[in-house]
Protein backbone atom coordinates (compact mmCIF):
# COMPACT_ATOMS: atom_id res chain seq x y z
CA UNK A 1 0.00 0.00 0.00
CA UNK A 2 1.41 3.43 -0.83
CA UNK A 3 1.59 6.29 1.63
CA UNK A 4 -1.51 8.11 0.41
CA UNK A 5 -3.67 5.00 0.55
CA UNK A 6 -2.33 4.10 3.97
CA UNK A 7 -3.05 7.54 5.36
CA UNK A 8 -6.56 7.39 3.94
CA UNK A 9 -6.99 4.12 5.78
CA UNK A 10 -5.65 5.58 9.02
CA UNK A 11 -7.92 8.59 8.69
CA UNK A 12 -10.90 6.30 8.14
CA UNK A 13 -10.10 4.32 11.26
CA UNK A 14 -9.63 7.49 13.28
CA UNK A 15 -12.95 8.90 12.12
CA UNK A 16 -14.66 5.66 13.09
CA UNK A 17 -12.80 5.75 16.41
CA UNK A 18 -14.05 9.21 17.27
CA UNK A 19 -17.54 7.87 16.62
CA UNK A 20 -16.91 5.28 19.35
CA UNK A 21 -15.61 2.35 17.27
CA UNK A 22 -13.00 0.82 19.62
CA UNK A 23 -12.06 -1.93 17.15
CA UNK A 24 -11.19 0.63 14.48
CA UNK A 25 -9.17 2.56 17.04
CA UNK A 26 -7.21 -0.55 17.97
CA UNK A 27 -6.51 -1.24 14.30
CA UNK A 28 -5.25 2.30 13.86
CA UNK A 29 -2.87 2.12 16.82
CA UNK A 30 -1.62 -1.36 15.91
CA UNK A 31 -1.06 -0.36 12.32
CA UNK A 32 0.74 2.89 13.15
CA UNK A 33 3.07 1.45 15.80
CA UNK A 34 5.45 -0.34 13.36
CA UNK A 35 5.97 2.90 11.46
CA UNK A 36 6.73 4.78 14.64
CA UNK A 37 9.14 1.99 15.56
CA UNK A 38 11.01 2.30 12.27
CA UNK A 39 11.51 6.03 12.76
CA UNK A 40 12.46 5.77 16.42
CA UNK A 41 14.96 2.95 15.83
CA UNK A 42 16.64 4.71 12.97
CA UNK A 43 16.91 7.93 14.91
CA UNK A 44 18.24 6.21 18.00
CA UNK A 45 20.77 4.34 15.91
CA UNK A 46 21.99 7.55 14.31
CA UNK A 47 22.31 9.26 17.68
CA UNK A 48 24.24 6.36 19.15
CA UNK A 49 21.49 5.51 21.61
CA UNK A 50 20.63 1.89 22.34
CA UNK A 51 18.00 0.89 19.82
CA UNK A 52 16.37 -1.19 22.52
CA UNK A 53 15.25 2.02 24.19
CA UNK A 54 13.49 3.12 21.02
CA UNK A 55 10.44 1.12 22.07
CA UNK A 56 10.06 3.51 25.03
CA UNK A 57 9.65 6.37 22.58
CA UNK A 58 7.19 4.38 20.48
CA UNK A 59 5.05 4.02 23.59
CA UNK A 60 5.45 7.65 24.53
CA UNK A 61 4.33 8.68 21.03
CA UNK A 62 1.35 6.33 21.13
CA UNK A 63 0.32 7.80 24.47
CA UNK A 64 0.61 11.33 23.05
CA UNK A 65 -1.38 10.39 19.94
CA UNK A 66 -4.03 8.99 22.21
CA UNK A 67 -4.29 11.92 24.61
CA UNK A 68 -4.18 14.47 21.80
CA UNK A 69 -6.35 12.63 19.28
CA UNK A 70 -8.97 15.39 19.39
CA UNK A 71 -6.42 17.82 17.94
CA UNK A 72 -6.61 16.08 14.57
CA UNK A 73 -9.11 17.85 12.36
CA UNK A 74 -10.93 15.11 10.38
CA UNK A 75 -11.13 17.47 7.41
CA UNK A 76 -7.34 17.54 7.15
CA UNK A 77 -4.89 14.83 6.11
CA UNK A 78 -3.71 12.71 9.00
CA UNK A 79 -0.07 12.37 7.90
CA UNK A 80 1.17 15.83 8.92
CA UNK A 81 -0.59 15.54 12.27
CA UNK A 82 0.98 12.18 12.94
CA UNK A 83 4.40 13.38 11.81
CA UNK A 84 4.28 16.53 13.95
CA UNK A 85 3.45 14.64 17.14
CA UNK A 86 6.00 11.93 16.36
CA UNK A 87 8.72 14.43 15.72
CA UNK A 88 7.91 16.40 18.86
CA UNK A 89 8.16 13.36 21.10
CA UNK A 90 11.23 12.05 19.31
CA UNK A 91 13.08 15.32 19.79
CA UNK A 92 12.06 15.38 23.47
CA UNK A 93 13.38 11.87 23.96
CA UNK A 94 16.67 12.57 22.18
CA UNK A 95 17.18 15.74 24.19
CA UNK A 96 16.57 13.90 27.42
CA UNK A 97 19.23 11.49 26.33
CA UNK A 98 21.78 14.26 26.27
CA UNK A 99 21.42 15.46 22.69
CA UNK A 100 20.62 18.97 23.82
CA UNK A 101 20.13 20.31 20.33
CA UNK A 102 18.65 17.28 18.66
CA UNK A 103 16.91 18.25 15.43
CA UNK A 104 14.64 16.00 13.49
CA UNK A 105 13.57 17.45 10.14
CA UNK A 106 9.84 17.07 9.65
CA UNK A 107 10.45 15.84 6.09
CA UNK A 108 12.41 12.94 7.44
CA UNK A 109 9.55 11.94 9.71
CA UNK A 110 7.08 12.24 6.85
CA UNK A 111 9.27 10.02 4.69
CA UNK A 112 9.75 7.56 7.48
CA UNK A 113 6.02 7.12 7.90
CA UNK A 114 6.41 5.05 4.75
CA UNK A 115 8.65 2.41 6.36
CA UNK A 116 7.62 0.00 9.04
CA UNK A 117 9.47 -2.20 11.47
CA UNK A 118 7.62 -5.32 12.49
CA UNK A 119 10.59 -7.05 14.07
CA UNK A 120 9.88 -8.63 17.40
CA UNK A 121 10.42 -5.99 20.00
CA UNK A 122 10.95 -6.75 23.62
CA UNK A 123 8.90 -5.04 26.30
CA UNK A 124 9.92 -1.46 26.98
CA UNK A 125 11.17 -0.60 30.44
CA UNK A 126 10.27 3.01 30.98
CA UNK A 127 6.51 2.63 31.27
CA UNK A 128 6.85 -0.04 33.95
CA UNK A 129 9.07 2.27 35.93
CA UNK A 130 6.57 5.13 35.59
CA UNK A 131 3.73 2.84 36.62
CA UNK A 132 5.44 2.60 39.98
CA UNK A 133 4.85 6.30 40.48
CA UNK A 134 1.07 6.13 40.05
CA UNK A 135 -1.38 5.95 42.92
CA UNK A 136 -2.21 2.34 43.84
CA UNK A 137 -5.68 2.40 42.38
CA UNK A 138 -4.54 3.95 39.10
CA UNK A 139 -1.78 1.39 38.79
CA UNK A 140 -4.20 -1.46 39.44
CA UNK A 141 -6.54 -0.20 36.73
CA UNK A 142 -3.76 0.26 34.16
CA UNK A 143 -2.35 -3.21 34.92
CA UNK A 144 -5.76 -4.79 34.55
CA UNK A 145 -6.55 -3.30 31.15
CA UNK A 146 -3.02 -3.61 29.74
CA UNK A 147 -1.02 -6.56 31.03
CA UNK A 148 -4.09 -8.62 31.88
CA UNK A 149 -5.98 -7.44 28.82
CA UNK A 150 -9.23 -6.88 30.70
CA UNK A 151 -12.00 -4.67 29.38
CA UNK A 152 -13.07 -1.72 31.50
CA UNK A 153 -16.09 -3.74 32.61
CA UNK A 154 -14.02 -6.75 33.62
CA UNK A 155 -11.57 -4.52 35.43
CA UNK A 156 -14.46 -2.91 37.29
CA UNK A 157 -15.74 -6.26 38.53
CA UNK A 158 -12.27 -7.38 39.48
CA UNK A 159 -11.42 -4.19 41.38
CA UNK A 160 -14.92 -3.69 42.82
CA UNK A 161 -15.34 -0.34 41.14
CA UNK A 162 -18.02 0.95 38.80
CA UNK A 163 -17.19 0.86 35.11
CA UNK A 164 -17.40 4.64 34.96
CA UNK A 165 -14.92 4.97 37.82
CA UNK A 166 -12.53 2.61 36.02
CA UNK A 167 -12.67 4.72 32.89
CA UNK A 168 -12.11 7.97 34.77
CA UNK A 169 -9.25 6.46 36.76
CA UNK A 170 -7.69 5.04 33.60
CA UNK A 171 -7.90 8.35 31.79
CA UNK A 172 -6.27 10.20 34.68
CA UNK A 173 -3.60 7.52 34.96
CA UNK A 174 -2.75 7.84 31.25
CA UNK A 175 -2.50 11.60 31.53
CA UNK A 176 -0.25 11.29 34.55
CA UNK A 177 1.96 8.77 32.76
CA UNK A 178 2.30 11.04 29.74
CA UNK A 179 3.32 13.92 32.02
CA UNK A 180 5.80 11.74 33.90
CA UNK A 181 7.80 10.89 30.79
CA UNK A 182 10.76 13.14 30.85
CA UNK A 183 9.87 14.88 34.06
CA UNK A 184 12.03 12.64 36.20
CA UNK A 185 14.21 11.10 33.54
CA UNK A 186 17.95 11.71 33.50
Amino acid sequence: MNTAAREMQWAMWMRAASGGDAAAYRRFLEDVAPYLRAIARRRFFRSGRPEGEAEDVVQEILLALHLKRHTWDPDRPIGPWLAAITRNKLVDALRRGGHARAQVPIEEVMDSLAAQDRTDHGPAQELDRLLGRLADRQRAVVRAVSLEGASAREAAAQLKMTEGAVRVTLHRALRTLAALYGRDAA
Binding site: A64, A84, A124, V145, L147
Partner: protein, 211 residues
Amino acid sequence: MKTSDLISALVQDPVPAPRLGRVLLAGLAGGVLLAALTFALALRPRPDLGEALEQLRVLAKFALGLGLATAATGLLGRLARPGVPGGGWRWSFLLPGLCVLVAVAAELVAVPPGAWEARLFGKNAAVCAPLILLISAGPLLCLLAALRHGAPTRPGLAGAVAGVAAGGIAATLYALHCPDDSPLFVAAWYSLAIGADALAGFLIGRRWLRW
Protein backbone atom coordinates in the same frame (compact mmCIF):
# COMPACT_ATOMS: atom_id res chain seq x y z
CA MET B 1 5.28 -3.43 29.22
CA LYS B 2 4.79 -4.52 25.64
CA THR B 3 3.47 -2.02 23.16
CA SER B 4 0.50 -4.25 22.39
CA ASP B 5 -0.41 -4.17 26.11
CA LEU B 6 -0.29 -0.39 26.08
CA ILE B 7 -2.56 -0.32 23.04
CA SER B 8 -5.04 -2.55 24.88
CA ALA B 9 -5.11 0.01 27.68
CA LEU B 10 -5.54 2.96 25.31
CA VAL B 11 -8.46 1.31 23.57
CA GLN B 12 -10.27 1.04 26.91
CA ASP B 13 -10.12 4.80 27.37
CA PRO B 14 -12.75 6.26 25.06
CA VAL B 15 -13.35 9.39 27.15
CA PRO B 16 -14.36 11.74 24.36
CA ALA B 17 -12.48 15.00 24.56
CA PRO B 18 -14.42 18.16 23.67
CA ARG B 19 -13.63 19.46 20.20
CA LEU B 20 -10.63 21.72 20.18
CA GLY B 21 -12.33 24.46 18.16
CA ARG B 22 -15.06 24.75 20.75
CA VAL B 23 -12.63 24.86 23.65
CA LEU B 24 -10.66 27.66 21.97
CA LEU B 25 -13.87 29.59 21.33
CA ALA B 26 -14.89 29.14 24.96
CA GLY B 27 -11.46 30.39 26.03
CA LEU B 28 -11.88 33.43 23.82
CA ALA B 29 -15.39 34.14 25.09
CA GLY B 30 -14.33 33.74 28.72
CA GLY B 31 -11.36 35.97 28.10
CA VAL B 32 -13.40 38.75 26.52
CA LEU B 33 -15.85 38.53 29.40
CA LEU B 34 -13.13 38.78 32.04
CA ALA B 35 -11.53 41.68 30.20
CA ALA B 36 -14.86 43.51 30.00
CA LEU B 37 -15.40 42.89 33.70
CA THR B 38 -11.96 44.27 34.58
CA PHE B 39 -12.63 47.27 32.39
CA ALA B 40 -16.00 47.90 34.02
CA LEU B 41 -14.45 47.73 37.49
CA ALA B 42 -11.39 49.87 36.78
CA LEU B 43 -12.36 52.36 34.06
CA ARG B 44 -15.20 54.24 32.41
CA PRO B 45 -15.76 54.87 28.70
CA ARG B 46 -14.80 58.41 27.74
CA PRO B 47 -17.79 60.76 27.88
CA ASP B 48 -17.35 61.92 24.28
CA LEU B 49 -17.11 58.42 22.84
CA GLY B 50 -19.89 58.96 20.29
CA GLU B 51 -18.27 61.98 18.67
CA ALA B 52 -14.78 60.53 18.94
CA LEU B 53 -15.80 57.50 16.91
CA GLU B 54 -16.43 59.76 13.95
CA GLN B 55 -12.74 60.54 13.67
CA LEU B 56 -10.54 58.40 11.51
CA ARG B 57 -7.63 58.50 13.95
CA VAL B 58 -9.83 57.16 16.74
CA LEU B 59 -10.94 54.32 14.51
CA ALA B 60 -7.26 53.54 13.92
CA LYS B 61 -6.96 52.79 17.65
CA PHE B 62 -9.64 50.17 17.34
CA ALA B 63 -8.16 48.86 14.12
CA LEU B 64 -4.95 48.09 15.98
CA GLY B 65 -6.57 46.28 18.92
CA LEU B 66 -9.32 44.48 17.04
CA GLY B 67 -7.06 43.70 14.09
CA LEU B 68 -4.36 42.16 16.24
CA ALA B 69 -6.87 40.25 18.35
CA THR B 70 -8.52 38.80 15.24
CA ALA B 71 -5.25 37.90 13.53
CA ALA B 72 -3.82 36.30 16.67
CA THR B 73 -6.91 34.27 17.52
CA GLY B 74 -7.13 33.01 13.96
CA LEU B 75 -3.51 31.91 14.05
CA LEU B 76 -4.00 30.26 17.45
CA GLY B 77 -6.58 27.91 15.98
CA ARG B 78 -3.81 26.59 13.74
CA LEU B 79 -0.91 26.68 16.15
CA ALA B 80 -2.92 24.58 18.59
CA ARG B 81 -3.04 21.66 16.14
CA PRO B 82 0.06 19.65 15.28
CA GLY B 83 0.97 19.62 11.61
CA VAL B 84 -1.30 22.48 10.54
CA PRO B 85 0.54 25.30 8.72
CA GLY B 86 -0.10 28.89 9.76
CA GLY B 87 -1.36 29.67 6.27
CA GLY B 88 -2.71 33.14 5.46
CA TRP B 89 -3.18 33.97 9.12
CA ARG B 90 0.53 34.59 9.44
CA TRP B 91 0.18 37.63 7.18
CA SER B 92 -2.97 38.95 8.80
CA PHE B 93 -0.86 40.85 11.34
CA LEU B 94 0.32 43.11 8.56
CA LEU B 95 -3.04 44.81 8.17
CA PRO B 96 -3.34 46.36 11.66
CA GLY B 97 0.38 47.12 11.55
CA LEU B 98 -0.05 48.93 8.27
CA CYS B 99 -3.05 50.90 9.59
CA VAL B 100 -0.95 52.20 12.48
CA LEU B 101 1.99 53.05 10.25
CA VAL B 102 -0.20 55.04 7.89
CA ALA B 103 -1.83 56.83 10.83
CA VAL B 104 1.57 57.66 12.32
CA ALA B 105 2.82 58.98 8.99
CA ALA B 106 -0.28 61.15 8.59
CA GLU B 107 0.14 62.52 12.11
CA LEU B 108 3.80 63.37 11.53
CA VAL B 109 2.85 65.26 8.39
CA ALA B 110 -0.09 67.07 9.99
CA VAL B 111 1.52 68.03 13.30
CA PRO B 112 4.55 70.34 13.55
CA PRO B 113 7.66 68.64 15.02
CA GLY B 114 7.50 70.85 18.09
CA ALA B 115 4.22 69.21 19.13
CA TRP B 116 5.27 65.62 18.54
CA GLU B 117 6.47 65.08 22.07
CA ALA B 118 3.26 66.38 23.62
CA ARG B 119 1.24 64.09 21.33
CA LEU B 120 3.44 61.12 22.09
CA PHE B 121 3.02 61.39 25.86
CA GLY B 122 -0.54 62.73 25.90
CA LYS B 123 -2.19 62.66 29.29
CA ASN B 124 -2.09 58.96 30.03
CA ALA B 125 1.32 57.73 28.87
CA ALA B 126 2.24 56.48 32.33
CA VAL B 127 -0.94 54.48 32.94
CA CYS B 128 -1.77 53.28 29.43
CA ALA B 129 0.47 50.22 29.24
CA PRO B 130 -0.12 49.11 32.86
CA LEU B 131 -3.90 49.36 32.41
CA ILE B 132 -3.86 47.39 29.15
CA LEU B 133 -1.74 44.75 30.86
CA LEU B 134 -4.18 44.60 33.77
CA ILE B 135 -7.17 44.13 31.45
CA SER B 136 -5.31 41.53 29.39
CA ALA B 137 -4.48 39.25 32.32
CA GLY B 138 -7.88 37.51 32.22
CA PRO B 139 -7.95 36.80 28.48
CA LEU B 140 -4.33 35.68 28.50
CA LEU B 141 -5.02 33.09 31.18
CA CYS B 142 -8.21 31.91 29.45
CA LEU B 143 -6.51 31.53 26.07
CA LEU B 144 -3.51 29.72 27.54
CA ALA B 145 -5.79 27.37 29.45
CA ALA B 146 -7.70 26.61 26.25
CA LEU B 147 -4.43 26.02 24.38
CA ARG B 148 -3.45 23.38 26.91
CA HIS B 149 -6.31 21.35 25.53
CA GLY B 150 -4.60 21.51 22.16
CA ALA B 151 -1.12 20.36 21.28
CA PRO B 152 0.99 23.29 20.11
CA THR B 153 4.27 21.97 18.74
CA ARG B 154 5.79 25.39 19.36
CA PRO B 155 4.64 26.24 22.89
CA GLY B 156 6.56 29.50 23.17
CA LEU B 157 5.23 30.85 19.89
CA ALA B 158 1.67 29.77 20.71
CA GLY B 159 1.97 31.51 24.10
CA ALA B 160 3.27 34.70 22.49
CA VAL B 161 0.43 34.75 19.96
CA ALA B 162 -2.04 34.22 22.82
CA GLY B 163 -0.39 37.24 24.45
CA VAL B 164 -0.95 39.34 21.33
CA ALA B 165 -4.59 38.24 21.22
CA ALA B 166 -5.10 39.12 24.89
CA GLY B 167 -3.28 42.43 24.43
CA GLY B 168 -5.41 43.23 21.39
CA ILE B 169 -8.63 42.56 23.28
CA ALA B 170 -7.44 44.68 26.20
CA ALA B 171 -6.25 47.51 23.93
CA THR B 172 -9.65 47.62 22.22
CA LEU B 173 -11.39 48.05 25.55
CA TYR B 174 -8.87 50.54 26.82
CA ALA B 175 -9.37 52.59 23.66
CA LEU B 176 -12.99 53.13 24.75
CA HIS B 177 -11.65 54.96 27.76
CA CYS B 178 -8.49 56.80 26.81
CA PRO B 179 -8.85 60.32 25.36
CA ASP B 180 -5.32 60.30 23.88
CA ASP B 181 -6.06 59.80 20.22
CA SER B 182 -2.75 60.63 18.60
CA PRO B 183 -1.39 57.75 16.50
CA LEU B 184 1.98 58.56 18.05
CA PHE B 185 0.57 57.75 21.47
CA VAL B 186 -1.14 54.59 20.24
CA ALA B 187 1.87 53.32 18.30
CA ALA B 188 4.13 53.77 21.33
CA TRP B 189 2.15 52.76 24.39
CA TYR B 190 -0.40 50.32 23.01
CA SER B 191 2.39 48.50 21.20
CA LEU B 192 4.49 48.47 24.34
CA ALA B 193 1.67 46.86 26.31
CA ILE B 194 0.86 44.31 23.61
CA GLY B 195 4.54 43.50 23.26
CA ALA B 196 4.80 42.92 26.99
CA ASP B 197 1.78 40.63 26.75
CA ALA B 198 3.45 38.68 23.97
CA LEU B 199 6.59 38.30 26.05
CA ALA B 200 4.58 37.16 29.07
CA GLY B 201 2.69 34.68 26.88
CA PHE B 202 5.95 33.39 25.45
CA LEU B 203 7.52 32.85 28.86
CA ILE B 204 4.45 31.16 30.34
CA GLY B 205 3.69 29.17 27.19
CA ARG B 206 7.20 27.80 26.89
CA ARG B 207 6.68 25.93 30.14
CA TRP B 208 2.94 25.59 30.58
CA LEU B 209 1.96 24.64 27.01
CA ARG B 210 4.39 21.75 26.70
CA TRP B 211 2.76 18.37 26.44
